[in-house]
Symmetry: D2
Subunit: 341 residues, 4 copies
């Protein structure tokens, strides 16, 4: 049994983490923390956990985490992880960080997009980007996992085969992505107030969403063996009136003429060892992967342009589910242990 | 042309008011106020009003209201109206108050349910309850209208024929009401955060919703010519994952055996002069009255019990639309002038 | 391993059954049938099952079922089960029937409400009503389970403690129930066409929903040890714009004065051995039991009337989940094996 | 008063037409037709029209239309219009056809995309494409209006300024469009069954949606004065779980470096005489134009690429509202008479 803490347990990702850990045959949830001073029970914060746990949320204390847990999942806002990670690692706790703080390898890029100086360059250097489909071999020995963003996982997994095999013009990539509202977190604000976003659809953060440099970085890394040219994507996120799910519709210019059949074969081959990827003949609907850890993807050619369509559940495969994949790999367990499929 | 101010212009009811006033052939919107200090344009607060108005929201100042408007619609939270109403009336402004502050005739009941001392008993004594279907003759001369609550209009209009004609046991009334989320206002909070209330249904404030004494009071008044026994209802509100609309399913014990046909005739007769009421043969769906000022109602008998089903749009017939009905009656205009039907 | 067939595999309940069976450590899905003549793959009918099964749907043939399965789950429309059940039982297959055909003990009542003569009185006599919380001891030896309706499970479990302990007037019960749209099945029709039912709320089948006699029958049976008076409920179903979930708000007149605390204790005690029931202090929201087999219930007293609020997932605890509970009990497995909680 | 018929009155567009005609100061609805043989009342087909009209739907008969109406709005499926239009024109009825039958100027293209031979080349030659913002001068004298498709209006109006002024590479245009479900019509089918499309998002008809050649044709025509090169777009439609609204996110490669401010000025100038267009500084949300005839558009530059975001209500500005705009222009009435804004 591996003892596990969730640091920052009040959000939607934390709820999904708690569900999976409580069902996991090799993990034990020993601690949940929150800033709420009245130490609410976890099943008061998340009523769906009633009769599943009797834990109460404690204030965060790194000593307490180290005492009770071997692994900590961090569900903190960015910059808060920057403070907690070094404290926890110093105490020997392995960390899976779900914030953005350790995803961008370049501290300057972090500063440009997040507006904060990165105060833990040592951690940044050691952090492993936790996308098992691409970096499976680095994860087992990692002590600090930077868990990917939800849009980024969708976009990267959708494009990795094309970039790795150098099939597309790296400056032609357009990612038109649409997300359910849970992706915006659990803090109430006007844009996610029900009567504002229900029965409505809009783009947001056009040209300035913080997942952009993360997609650029990982795709550039994925493609570096073939070509030393950075990937630079155009990424437009949209808010869709549904709870969960991301659909990315991605357009790219092929470098040579391609057939749909060959591209589908490329995807099937590229992901043949990945237990959470489905290369689908039909067009993916977010509902078919909702509440699961599946990543669904298909490819089309339209008037000479490649169109990739990809879907996943932003809270599971886009956050908590991949975190458990990482956890499993870190502990030499089958990759899908305790994960809904 | 009648000059009109909206005091408290940032909420959903105020938006509907603004839309109707901007389309109204006899009204002119001369002032909108809000607490936001940066004086935002009204079409920044409500983007759907773009190209419809160039007004900016001003801080509330009773002198300014009196200078610019003959009538003020108050979209303030309760207790705030208690302060504004005497100031405005003193300056000769006629007021249509959409808060709850002048609805309950008994100041003690107000204190019991709202937790505040009522500081304007003179206003309370003069206020006219603005439900035109029942109190049409009192409205034209009123200087202070207490605009009804959305649940209360639904329940009262659904039950008035039965109570007025003394058809039911006044202690047997159960009102199971369901509302879209816009009824909860525009201030973000966790219960109306999209991923919390979307795809979910729950009751709230069971036995303690503040519309209860309002329903009791008006129905008791409606029925007083036949019987001097107060009405006391059981009222359960529910939050439904949709923008707008209230459906009330109401159960009552008849005092004598009744037929559906006779009851339908009673309703048709009772509302025969009401231009915004439809007695429907089918079961009302909230969608059929959405975005309009219709009140839809039908009656059934099930195993000897009377079941009334009634629907309206909570923001229009339940708030802004009836306010314009009142405005029209106060100015001897046709009751439905400028109102969507 | 127990070999299992799903007869009638294209509906939503069948999909949930398939998911649970595919995850069940002691069950193996060996056959799925449908009327579609082109023998579609099950994961074409239900794309969310991709990579989970390679079965194709076969036309129904009782010999084939008997050859491949020890237990058959019947996801057929009513009257179709009436034909299939005798054929399957004759061949030694144990049947869990999810239709209404074997729920009503009285063939005349069946005829009155369903408009068909009941052609299998022998089956009817032997069928066990599959509500484990109330009839756990009868299920293990049953060869034919009548799996309860979704509204009926909600209403019966919500009322059973009160009726069993003779706390309420049996003629005073009003069940105002609200269901997500998946309860209406998977066959497209105008009432469940998205733009018709989305953003709308309406009652339907007022006074004539076929779950009414089922609720009457089971509650009368539950209460018969205390009082030989039949229960007769007023039941009003509503369609709510959400996928899944039922909330029942139930009103009943107590026979004596009761306290909320005592009633809550009664519920906790009544269900103390039931692993899928949560007596909640807060008001249940359908979201908290969605995608799980939980039944959530609480009790309030409002102006002397008892108000019970209960929620469950209509496809799981209201259909497929309780079917697996029954399956587990029939095979002496822990009751919640393979069931999401 | 102009007498008006709606031929094919049961769909959602017809309902919006009926609402606007019933409110229109210069139009009178004298006839509604449907294939339903029992001649249902129009307010039975559309309950929201109760107390607004007492018309019953009649079977379609061109003589009857000619007898009762000067103008006919055709809400027929494609190919059905092909039959009705010549019959009506021969009888002197002016026709506004909301189907696709007269939109594509080239009969071969029609055959390629719709699979039918075009049997009315004379009508096709005379038909005027009813997009007032671009072809205002042709509409007043037209006897046959081809009312634009909803996606096409969105895409064309969003791109017309850039194409007309030759700002973009005509082969670089990507239109990622998202529509509410009412765009799929009122005939129930599995893809628009509530539990299938609610809480889900998917693309459909990728590369083969029939609005593609219509967009190509009109944009090529709009741009022909500057350059004789056809426009060929990549168009991907998506189904969004909401009733109404289209959002198009459009990407194009500029021919020269452009600034956002200049492009915004271009749009404002291009549409300065259009009473139903709003060039918005913020990102358009479909909710802000829902239930109105507004077309909202804005422009951004992202990493050198032009991104246009445009929204409208598919049933109003995308169908019935523009039809009334055409009707008004045909009768020399102010363009927005009777149209909700």
């Amino acid at each position: 049994m591996i003892d596990v803490a969730i640091v920052g347990a009040t959000g939607y990702t934390a709820l999904e983490l708690a569900r999976m850990i409580l069902n996991h045959p090799q993990a034990r949830l020993t601690l949940a923390t929150s800033r709420q001073e009245d130490r609410p029970r976890l099943d008061t914060v998340h009523p769906s956990l009633a009769r599943r746990t009797t834990l109460s949320c404690e204030p965060y204390d790194p000593d307490r985490v180290a005492e009770l847990a071997q692994v900590a999942f961090l569900g903190l806002p960015h910059t808060a992880s920057l403070e907690a990670v070094p404290d926890l690692r110093r105490r020997g706790v392995r960390v899976i960080d779900l914030s953005a703080d350790y995803r961008l390898k370049c501290a300057e890029t972090y500063h440009d997009w997040y507006g904060h100086v990165h105060t833990d360059p040592a951690g940044l250097a050691e952090a492993v980007y936790g996308l098992p489909e691409l970096f499976r071999e680095r994860i087992p020995t990692a002590n600090l996992i930077a868990n990917p963003g939800c849009y980024t996982s969708t976009a990267i997994l959708a494009l990795a085969p094309l970039v790795a095999e150098d099939k597309i013009d790296r400056r032609s990539i357009i990612i038109d992505a649409k997300s359910g509202v849970s992706g915006a977190g659990r803090t109430p604000k006007l844009t996610t107030h029900f009567p504002e976003c229900n029965e409505s659809l809009a783009a947001y953060n056009v040209g300035r969403h913080r997942h952009t440099p993360e997609i650029d970085q990982i795709l550039s890394e994925v493609g570096c063996s073939r070509r030393n040219e950075p990937v630079e994507v155009i990424f437009t996120p949209h808010l869709v009136p549904m709870d969960r799910g991301i659909l990315a519709t991605i357009y790219a210019q092929p470098l040579a003429s391609e057939s749909e059949a060959d591209l589908m074969d490329l995807y099937r081959s590229f992901y043949r060892h990945c237990p959470c990827v489905r290369v689908t003949s039909g067009l993916p609907a977010t509902k078919d992967s909702a509440h699961t850890n599946w990543f669904d993807v298909t490819v089309r050619i339209v008037r000479g342009r490649i169109v990739v369509l990809a879907a996943l559940d932003n809270l599971i495969k886009g956050a908590a589910g991949v975190a458990i994949q990482n956890f499993n790999l870190m502990h030499h367990l089958p990759e899908t242990t305790g994960i809904p499929l």
